[in-house]
């Protein structure tokens, strides 16, 4: 059931299933994203979380921030966990063995939503195998990557989502290094190429866009991938109150383009049609430099000897933006 949301005030007050007063750092985007996702529906939600900041800060025995059923198994298996819980749901539904309250909910025409949350480490790297497997098998669930471009929980090491020039604890900038050497993996495209019916990139700063995409994803039958930009105050090193500002700079510079890919497919995973929509188009695309300047993890790039990395960044962002627009135009 799609939930109607009028304005931010109403949205922030609605139906809370997640306690924000937890152990996450002040200004952490993970918290904002989780609340936005859970608030997008009135249906029951069942959650699996990979190891990472979100997990260690929200379910410390004997407390829990989760007022929805929640499971953490390991770092690598959020996707397979939620996919299998959903499969178990289907079996128990067929066999008439669901708990009574759940049966009643079904009679009301509602179904639970199955959602996995994982960091970029748990998604791009160690959890990629189980994510890829679950998408290929076509399980019915939503996977949300809280992409802060770093292994935050273990102290800020690089991941394959860390972008070029970022200084992390395992790709530090130094006298002879400008930090991370490679641009990040294109996870949205990789997941779309798995034939997922719906894939989207979102930012918590554009909350309406995020909610709309999550609601679209919940309507879809099959695996849905949402890549969520998640500014990390501790590792991006900006002030907690600047989180939404920094996120917006990412969106306005097209470093973090907001778009969706819809693969029209049948139940065998045969794709008949692919459509890419850019869902937010900055009126004045700002230079990447402004985004980088707001985050001390890129501070060293502004030294004369590293300036060329900012140029590389700009080129990479422009190319990708151009590419996305062409795909949108061509309807592929």
């Amino acid at each position: 059931m799609t939930k109607k949301i009028k304005n931010l005030k109403e949205f922030s007050l609605s139906n809370d299933r997640y306690e924000g007063a937890n152990l996450m750092c002040p200004g952490c985007s993970h918290n904002i994203i989780v609340r936005e996702v859970l608030n997008a529906t009135n249906d029951p939600v069942i959650v699996a979380t990979a190891t990472g900041c979100l997990e260690v800060c929200t379910a410390v025995y004997p407390k829990t921030s989760w007022d929805v059923s929640w499971i953490h198994i390991g770092f690598e298996n959020a996707a397979v966990a939620i996919a299998t819980a959903q499969a178990a749901y289907e079996v128990l539904k067929r066999k008439g063995r669901l708990p009574e309250a759940t049966k009643k909910m079904l009679e009301e025409g509602r179904e639970p939503k199955f959602v996995a949350f994982a960091g970029d480490g748990g998604t791009y790297d160690i959890g990629f195998q189980s994510l890829s497997g679950a998408f290929e098998r076509g399980h019915n669930f939503m996977y949300v990557c809280l992409d802060n471009e770093v292994y935050a929980n273990t102290g800020g090491q690089r991941s394959s989502s860390t972008p070029i020039g970022a200084s992390t604890t395992t790709s530090p900038a130094g006298t002879v290094s400008y930090g991370e050497k490679m641009m990040k993996k294109s996870m949205v495209e990789i997941m779309s190429d798995h034939g997922a019916p719906y894939v989207a990139q979102v930012s918590p700063s554009k909350w309406k866009d995020l909610v709309k995409k999550v609601q679209k994803g919940f309507e879809v039958n099959g695996p849905v991938y949402i890549n969520a930009q998640s500014a990390c105050t501790t590792e991006w090193k900006h002030a907690p109150e600047d989180t939404i500002e920094v996120s917006d700079l990412g969106v306005e510079s097209c470093v973090w383009p907001l778009y969706e890919i819809i693969n029209e497919r049948d139940e065998h995973g045969i794709i008949y049609n692919t459509k890419l929509n850019i869902t937010y188009r900055p009126k004045n695309k700002i230079p990447v430099e402004e985004y980088l300047a707001a985050q001390p993890r890129f501070k060293h790039l502004f030294k004369p000897e590293n300036r060329h990395i900012i140029d590389l960044w700009q080129k990479a962002v422009d190319t990708k933006w151009e590419h996305l627009q062409r795909r949108e135009e061509a309807g592929v």
Binding site: G74, L98, T102, S130, S132
Partner: protein, 405 residues
Amino acid sequence: MAKKYELNEVEVWDGNMAAAQALRQAQVDVVAAYPITPSTPIVQNYSQFLADGYVDGDFIMVESEHSAMSGCVAASAAGARAATATSSQGFALMVEVLYQASGMRLPIVLTVVNRALAAPLNVNGDHSDMYLGRDAGWINLCSYNPQEAYDLTLMAFKIGEDLDVRLPVMVHQDGFLCSHTAQNVRPLQDEVATEFVGDYKPVNSMLDVSNPVTHGVQTEEDWHFEHKARQHNDLMNSKKVIKRVFDEFKDLTGREYDFVYKYKMDDADIAIFALGTTVESAQVAADKMREEGIKAGVVSLRVLRPFPFEEVQKALSNIKAVAAMDRSAPGGTFGALFNEISAAMLAAGKSPVILNYIYGLGGRDTTIDHLVDIYRQLDECAKAGERKYPLQQFIGLRGPKLSFY
């Protein structure tokens, strides 16, 4: 509803078919699996049951054993009966998640067809994987032939799901020697088996929308110890339930199981203590010794975890010398079984001479002659009242003899 499977009173099944049939009869809700020799036929048989309508559940061929066990954990937390099978490298890949399963108190059943661990890569049977998972907080049951693999797999569900236990259970069988060796098996009819296993009553199902639950929390030094202590306590006390289920199974089938298996031990002076298919070979060797007037017996474990401490002490209380047979590479110390038996007998205050034999690694044959040689060494020790041979010897190894201490 699944179709009824027509079964003869006696079927010719190998250990893999026996295990697969037990999973089918338990009407597991979710099997998430990944193939590996020698346990592959379990998942193949199971898929065929599904394809032919004999199973009403979901069979998910995941992309790795890590995901197979993760899937079992999540399905079980969701309130479904979950099971899988594996061996060796696949088992090793599951190890991380084995601890999650027991820590979350989820009664998953895992059939382990025991096989060596690489390197070198080897597909044949030994017990390296069994020992790798021994301390994961699971109940561990050991079978010696297809009949027992079938019986113990059925019992595994009933034991693990008991509300006083709520722990996952592994059922071991030897790679190839049991898994691929067809023998007569007396199955239960479907209705009888299903009734024996009983309905699965989940605790804290994630699918209960009126009662959200948190599974797999974080605990640090303020709670972790209490959780682990409770888990250990319940594992130790699961012996009561295991005994009860063994007894119920005996009433139903006449087939008797106990924590410790004993063959001609009532008057024995010497004993071979082994696990798996070697138990049956050792019985033949013991009979041979008895023809010479040497009082030889065989001891084994049905239940490796919880370790049946008192039963082992009792079984060996009147023995003069015993061979602790370890079918896994010891890795820089004595064999795992040797260490456990020695500890039990040290605590008993009266120990027979205990020798540690490493044998059968990577599927190397262990012959009746090898076992007779071992009995002869034990006999010499028994007569002398002291150890006359090195503490640890390798049996059936080519080249110079290898022994330590």
